[in-house]
Amino acid sequence: MNKSFLALLLILSFGITSNSEKVIARQGQVSFFSYTSVENIKAENNQVYSIINLQEGTIAVDMLMNAFVFEKALMREHFNESYIESDIYPKATFQGKIIDFDTNAQGTQIKMIKGAFKMHGVSKDIEIKTKIENNNGSYTLSGVFETFVKDYNINIPPLLAGNIAKSIAVNFKFEYQPYEN
């Protein structure tokens, strides 16, 4: 009886430990900006999903491309139908590792995240300088990086080439909560 109870306690404590090692963001924000002399294009996605495994320092991000909101319907239409082809490639993903991540350090730390960003069917290794804020176990990750349209096989018709920047600025902000299943 005592042995069974001990075994049960061990199993339960293992379960609690493994869940507490993960933090989750269901409403991460990713926005991008394209600046050209013809027009500026901005879009925002506020339902980006991300999980960090604190013990391993790994991070995964998942976003729906058709959930980006634009200022104009035509911009959204071109983005989804002509450039990103979100019916064929509905998601963009990132899987990476936070280098030298100190999960116990309170306050702000600046770290590099290395990993593979997959969009429009093309996977590319990237490094992102990221601000990590730890407020008693509530983590917030934010930063900005540049990405090039040509790296992801996105074809812009010559007629619209002047409207879309070759380099796109991507901003992100994720507020994580303890993962509870």
């Binding site: 269901r26 409403q27 924000q29 506020n46 339902q47 999903y49 998942d62 976003m63 729906l64 058709n66 959930a67 909101v69 634009f70 200022e71 104009k72 319907a73 911009m75 959204r76 979100s86 019916d87 509905p90 998601k91 902000k173 507020e175 993962y179 509870e180 299943n181």
Partner: protein, 149 residues
């Protein structure tokens, strides 16, 4: 003076008048939209789900599928928040799962959203965007109960 006014009135050809009407209709439609997505209207008849049904749905962009269409989802409020300055309601189902429905609310739903409480059972109508771990609905509204008056 009278002559010049008459001249001005006659200066619009039927083609120009049609063009003006098209412009006004276009501007009118644009001013109605909150963002790049279509506006979800209360009167629209749509397919209905509860949270457990929709999180198990296999949604794609196929013609007969529901991505980018308006759906109605019934569930229990797990969370209401204003993260990223967006009013969001998160619905849970009856099954024991970490998968939820995230409803990004239209701006005109602020008063209705403020009157809700955690644990309330509600229906939400919004544009189905797809599924990550959770199901994502944008431009959501809370349909008001119909009265016979």
């Amino acid at each position: 003076m009278q002559r010049s006014l008459n001249t001005y009135q006659l200066s619009f050809t039927p083609k120009q008048i049609i063009a003006l009407i098209v412009i006004f209709v276009f501007l009118g439609l644009n001013s109605c939209s909150e963002n790049s997505d279509k506006i979800v209207r209360e009167s629209l008849d749509v397919e209905q789900f509860n949270v457990d049904q929709i999180i198990e749905g296999d949604f794609t962009f196929d013609e007969d599928n529901l991505i980018e269409n308006v759906v109605l989802v019934e569930g229990v409020i797990q969370d209401i928040n204003n993260l990223n300055n967006r009013s969001t309601i998160i619905l849970k189902g009856k099954k024991d799962t970490d998968r939820l429905v995230i409803c990004d609310m239209q701006k005109n739903q602020k008063l209705t959203t403020n009157s809700l409480n955690l644990g309330d059972e509600i229906s939400v109508k919004g544009i189905l965007k797809g599924t990550l771990n959770d199901v994502i609905l944008l431009n959501c509204i809370i349909p008001q109960p119909k009265t016979n008056e």
